[in-house]
Symmetry: C2
Subunit: 306 residues, 2 copies
């Protein structure tokens, strides 16, 4: 069996001995953090492939440019940091020219402008043979007042919460979603958050990352999971909400006391839902509608599965 | 006719209104510079495609990992900045597994370690169909004492200089070249340099970038150009040295007075050669061995040519 993405990322992390004074956050979170004198900067990189993260047969280049930026903006959100600037690399199919680049650019800019994230550079290259389009965004952010929120801070007893609704993003939301940058910054400002991640590969997989990196377990309640309207139209709405991925909603944990405080003060349009509790079992479980408690596997998207 | 890479980059730059206090260097140089409180950080991104920047039929993944990092390290050198950290994204062919990722990683680390440039994160993704390998490196650096050196600072009367020798990098050097990070920092420390770039697309194209961005012209002397042994074995050594690209040597200009100072003090193994003079003609020319002066076109590699 081949290694999962998290296993190989773990191996990479074990190979890099990063002094924490220079690199407060290294490999394995949504962004890495680098010290620069009295300041720190965070960086993330995301590669999107035609046929996997989008399909140019039914997505426009403007949508693809938007999505490429939004995915990285969602990483900034996942740590409650403030987006600063992005550089974009593209590998173009032979048939692409100036027109295609300008259309792509309009999508990149429309996403960046929403969060004052400037496009500051890039790299344009073209396949020699007929190969599909690939785009990579690397993005910088800076910590907000309450520092970057990590995956590894979840504590036993924490409430587990999500923004928005989950599942079925593949029906369209994945191309036009709103990165939760403002929500993350607002939440981090209002209450003490112990851990945060964005749901890119699916609730089950991303909750598993919080559990693994925090050394805790979790139980979530099927009845509490906010299932999207798109997922509800499918044969298995719960399964979609748990494993579809590309929701790009926030998943975060905070102490039991902080949740009512947040919930009462929250006046934004984006909903917040408490879906479960962090525990010390070391495993993930889900309480079904009939009261049964099942083990929950990380069955979201694995980029290394074949 | 389709636009050149420089034309489209110019169009992108014209679309981004970057406040110079926040972004001292924007689109169009080797790296962009971003202000963070009292500090600044620079960023570059480079995408390498199988079949274009390397060919996995005759390059190892270790070599490819090394080259991907070295290309970005050369961007750090091009501005005489100090490499800090890199994030690497990969798009894997379906057949790649853990073994291939570890081989690639060894090359990435071997290049990074030479310049204390840490691997701090990445993104691993895999093509759904059988498509070729793609790798992107985004790298951060910090300015050295004498600030980042830009392409736009060349002045009429400047001496034009290069490190090492040029041409024929495709015979092997392009996979194992030594990024001129140390040389750039040393040169910038020893003398006042007015402009600098690394030769990635060929001397003619990269000198053209200095001329265009500085609003100057240049005349170089064929007899002074340091032609590599590999280029000398070809039918057209001078043409190779002017246009092959991927030399990853430094091309820089400094006042006529500074050149002898630099040249006399220089004790490093890497050679420095004065190849010509910046002038106000607004065009590039080359003085041939027979004394004739020909116009010199930017005929190096254009990533948007088809």
């Amino acid at each position: 069996m081949s290694a999962t993405e998290d296993e190989i990322t773990g191996w990479f992390a074990s190979q890099s001995k990063l002094p924490p004074e220079d690199f407060p956050i290294g490999i394995g979170d949504d962004m890495a953090q680098i010290r620069l004198g009295n300041e720190t900067v965070l960086i993330t990189t995301d590669m999107l492939l035609d046929g996997l993260h989008f399909d140019l047969r039914n997505a426009t280049l403007r949508q693809v440019g938007y999505k490429a930026m939004a995915v990285s903006l969602s990483d900034c959100a996942a740590m409650a940091t403030v987006p600063l600037a992005a550089v974009v690399s593209v590998g173009l199919p032979k048939s692409f020219g100036t027109k295609e680049l300008k259309e792509l650019h309009s999508g990149i800019i429309s996403a960046g402008n929403k969060f004052a994230c400037a496009l500051v550079g890039g790299d344009i290259t073209r396949w020699k043979c007929e190969n599909p389009f690939v785009i990579n965004v690397a993005m910088l952010s800076k910590p907000a007042e309450n520092g970057p929120l990590k995956r590894s801070g979840a504590k036993v007893g924490d409430s587990i919460c999500v923004t928005g609704s989950l599942g079925g993003a593949g029906f369209g939301k994945h191309l036009g979603f709103e990165p939760r940058v403002r929500e993350a910054l607002k939440i981090a400002q209002m209450v003490k958050v112990n851990s945060m991640i964005d749901i890119s590969d699916g609730l089950s997989s991303d909750l598993n990352r919080i559990c693994q990196q925090s050394g805790v377990g979790a139980v979530i309640e099927a009845a509490q999971i906010p299932i999207s309207n798109e997922a509800k139209k499918t044969d298995s709405p719960l399964n979609c909400a748990l494993n579809d991925g590309e929701d790009f909603e926030l998943l975060f944990t905070l102490s039991e006391k902080e949740w009512p405080k947040l919930s009462n003060q929250w006046k934004e349009r984006t909903t917040l839902t408490r879906i479960g509790t962090i525990n010390d079992t070391g495993k993930m479980q889900i309480k079904m509608h009939d009261g049964r408690v099942n083990d929950l596997e990380a069955e979201g998207y694995n980029h290394l599965s074949r």
